[in-house]
């Protein structure tokens, strides 16, 4: 299993733990990641809010780099995943857009390079039998709220990830690791991440309701697969009302949970970088049979 790895900008700043845990898990499972040489920003929300052609061109130039390697692109960030898939959709569904993108990027791109999120690679390429066989530890019944957010599942005709309203990919991984994925209604709700700097009050309001619901559903932690969701729920938790005295809820990447169950040391998975202490998770993993 070999992939062209597109880390995305947040891998070197706010989501270093996502990058660290993803690469550690990949190494352990024999997934070879070849970082795309010279990769650049996907444009994120700023590009598509500004100019449609810019938003299609920035990811296309990266997918052209991947085309040269002949490998599928593996991404860990849900936003990069969404922008790359959207660019593929724009370029492949409109000859006019394809032509304009070719002019902007300097070479023709047909929108055909596969873009895979690491969760898809874990479930579809590595597969459940191999994953289960590789586990050294268990989550020992830890109650996990699997949280998908927006960008993996929507728009569904563009991303094609799992199911738009009730995805189960993360839940399946949690259950495979011996955790209990709680039944809760906020799986695909928005954390407000897009307004992080401009309307922080809205981020706190939306993320607060997600955390309250996870807690009310009995969750010991929330598992995420998007760096914006992680930042909103973790970094902003201190500013939220309610929940005080109950302690903060750990917000962990699914690759951090998987890494722990593969027997990888917490520091290698960036668990020391979380704002809300992951102690509840660490205790569950080491509680018995390990």
């Amino acid at each position: 299993m070999k992939y062209a790895y597109y880390p995305g900008c947040s891998s070197h700043s706010t989501a270093r733990d996502m990058h660290e845990s993803a690469t550690a898990v990949a190494r352990r499972l024999g997934i070879e990641l070849v970082e795309l040489d010279g990769w650049s920003c996907c444009g994120a929300t700023a590009a598509h809010q500004t100019d449609r052609l810019l938003a299609a061109s920035l990811p296309s130039s990266n997918l052209l780099l991947a085309q040269r390697t002949g490998l599928d692109t593996l991404v860990t960030c849900a936003a990069c995943y969404s922008r790359m898939k959207a660019a593929n959709h724009e370029v492949s569904s409109s000859p006019d857009m394809r032509k304009k993108v070719a002019e902007a990027v300097g070479s023709d791109y047909d929108g055909s390079m596969p873009v895979r999120h690491i969760v898809e690679v874990l479930l579809e390429d590595v597969g459940m039998p191999k994953l289960k066989k590789s586990l050294a530890r268990s989550l020992n019944g830890l109650k996990v709220a699997a949280y998908y957010g927006c960008l993996l599942v929507r728009p569904h005709d563009v991303t094609g990830f799992d199911d738009a309203e009730n995805p189960v990919s993360l839940d399946r991984l949690v259950e495979a690791m011996g955790g209990e994925s709680v039944d809760w209604p906020c799986k695909v709700d928005c954390c407000g991440g897009g307004l992080n700097l401009t309307r922080t009050d809205e981020v706190v309001r939306l993320s607060n309701s997600i955390i309250d619901m996870a807690r009310d559903s009995g969750a010991d932690c929330i598992a995420v697969a998007c760096p914006m969701c992680q930042a909103s729920l973790d970094l902003r938790q201190k500013d939220m009302k309610g929940g005080a005295g109950k302690g903060r809820l750990p917000i962990v990447y699914i690759t951090q949970l998987l890494g722990l169950c593969l027997g990888i040391a917490p520091a290698e998975l960036g668990l020391n970088r979380l704002m809300a202490s992951p102690d509840a998770v660490l205790q569950a993993v080491s509680s018995k049979g390990s």
């Binding site: 700043s13 650049s40 700023a46 100019d51 449609r52 130039s61 704002m275």
Partner: protein
């Protein structure tokens, strides 16, 4: 909300331009309001997706660009995902944003145009996002220097905020894309 429409209005307003820019046809919307029911920010923005579409139907002009939703929309795509007619409303909002910036209309509620400009300026220079520089640029520009300042030491301590600019991107390719798309819209410092 009451929408006042002048009987004298003879133009089709922003609609043709928005449809052209977004590639979205609005005539299939029958106001079921599923989009508005699922919108996470409609309540705070004071305007909802179905209302924006209806106002476009009715020939709304530049006054529509002052609606709260234009800059509060999170691009969460819930409206698009649930629309029975597959109307890509987030693309409509993106078109309204471009028009708003082009016409120099003040963004209500938070300064998203400034954020976008700072983000893209850094991408244009470094080829990748440089959070520290982008955040400082936004804070200086918006005058909200001390908002969130308490988060900064914690993020530095946890290694979640890089001090040095990113390196390794093919900057020439990125520069070329900017020059061939937004051109002078995003000025380099």
């Amino acid at each position: 909300m009451t929408i006042v429409i002048s009987k004298k209005r003879r133009t089709s307003g922003l609609r043709p331009q928005v449809e052209e820019m977004s590639g979205v046809k609005l005539d299939t919307c029958y106001q079921c309001r599923k989009c508005s029911a699922g919108c996470p920010v409609a309540v705070s923005a004071g305007s909802a997706p179905s209302e924006i579409i209806r106002r476009l139907h009715l020939g709304a002009g530049d006054e529509l660009l002052e609606s709260g939703l234009v800059w509060m929309c999170l691009s969460c795509e819930t409206c698009y995902g649930r629309c029975p007619m597959q109307i890509n409303f987030p693309a409509v909002i993106d078109a309204l944003r471009s028009l708003s910036v082009a016409k120099g209309i003040k963004a209500p509620g938070g300064n998203m145009p400034l954020f976008n400009r700072m983000f893209l300026e850094n991408v244009k220079i470094f080829g990748r996002s440089y959070d520290l520089s982008m955040i400082m640029g936004y804070k200086l520009g918006s005058g909200k220097l001390m908002d969130d300042a308490g988060k900064f030491p914690a993020m530095l301590g946890k290694g979640k905020m890089a001090l040095l600019p990113p390196s390794g991107a093919d900057k020439m390719s990125v520069r070329r894309i900017f020059d061939h798309t937004v051109g002078k819209k995003v000025k380099s410092k």
